[in-house]
Symmetry: C2
Subunit: 134 residues, 2 copies
DNA sequence: ATTAATTCCTACTAATTTGCTAGGATTAGT
DNA sequence: ACTAATCCTAGCAAATTAGTAGGAATTAAT
């Protein structure tokens, strides 16, 4: 039960964008790659997931790049992680059918644990993460 | 961030042992395999982890098998999962050195999330899981 | 003693997932 | 036109997971 590198890098990227959020600065993938030490090509894929979840907005072409769609204090860490980490689900059977017909004793446990994790992550904003004020 | 099959099967096994805990019944792997639908050979490996964590005790030879070391109400789900799921750690860098010298902004987040997950799982006993009383 | 039933140990393998590389199409500013 | 950027998607290598397999060790029953 590990967080993927996408989750880790997604947070790096978000923090970096949060730092530069003032004055509508538009940030390129290449500068994010420099700041985080991850390759551009890989970051492109990660930030694409964030765009799909409307956490960032992009502008294409020369002078293009990305910026957050909202203030760092209005974006939760849970939202970011769910965007890049395939919904952050600890077991598939919460939303899909499982071999046991979805009524095994564990199901309820997984569901509650999932709720627990999500609610915790939703209470923490990107701003708080940036200030390390958790 | 998924639970492994070992985590899922480990809980099945535990619930089955909890059901048969009354009167010191000793349960064989083969009957656990029948009850859970998992192969004997794979369950052997999983239950070995539980033995190592002193959740079950074994008796060898003919008429041998396994039983819980304590009442189901005294064994937490967290303890079981940590035994079979390699400490249930969401990121390595909480306990190991990471490339960023262990002081990245996310580190504190992971630590707190980890504590959150463990404390939740530790509040739930095998007895509660069995009764689906979470 | 022999046999049968069981745990215990450990090596191997197949399938899946993850992490990343790569190439090029598309878009927009100068 | 040229350049700097996002966008799209295919592929691949490494790691991990999930499971198979064989047989040694142990013990109860006959």
């Amino acid at each position: 039960m590990k967080m993927s590198s996408k989750a880790r890098y997604g947070l790096y990227v978000s923090v970096e964008l949060a730092r530069r959020y003032n004055n509508q600065e538009i940030v390129t993938v290449s500068s994010l790659a420099q700041a985080t030490g991850v390759t551009e090509k890989y970051l492109e894929q990660i930030i694409a997931l964030m765009k799909k979840a409307q956490i960032v907005v992009s502008s294409r072409g020369a002078n293009g790049g990305y910026k957050l769609t909202d203030e760092p204090s209005n974006i939760s860490v849970g939202r970011i992680l769910r965007a890049v980490e395939d919904n952050l689900q600890i077991v598939d059977c919460i939303h899909k059918d499982c071999a046991n017909g979805c009524n095994c004793v564990s199901r309820n446990l997984w569901t509650k644990l999932q709720i627990n994790i999500n609610s915790y992550l939703d209470t923490i904003s990107l701003q708080q993460l940036l200030e390390d004020n958790l």
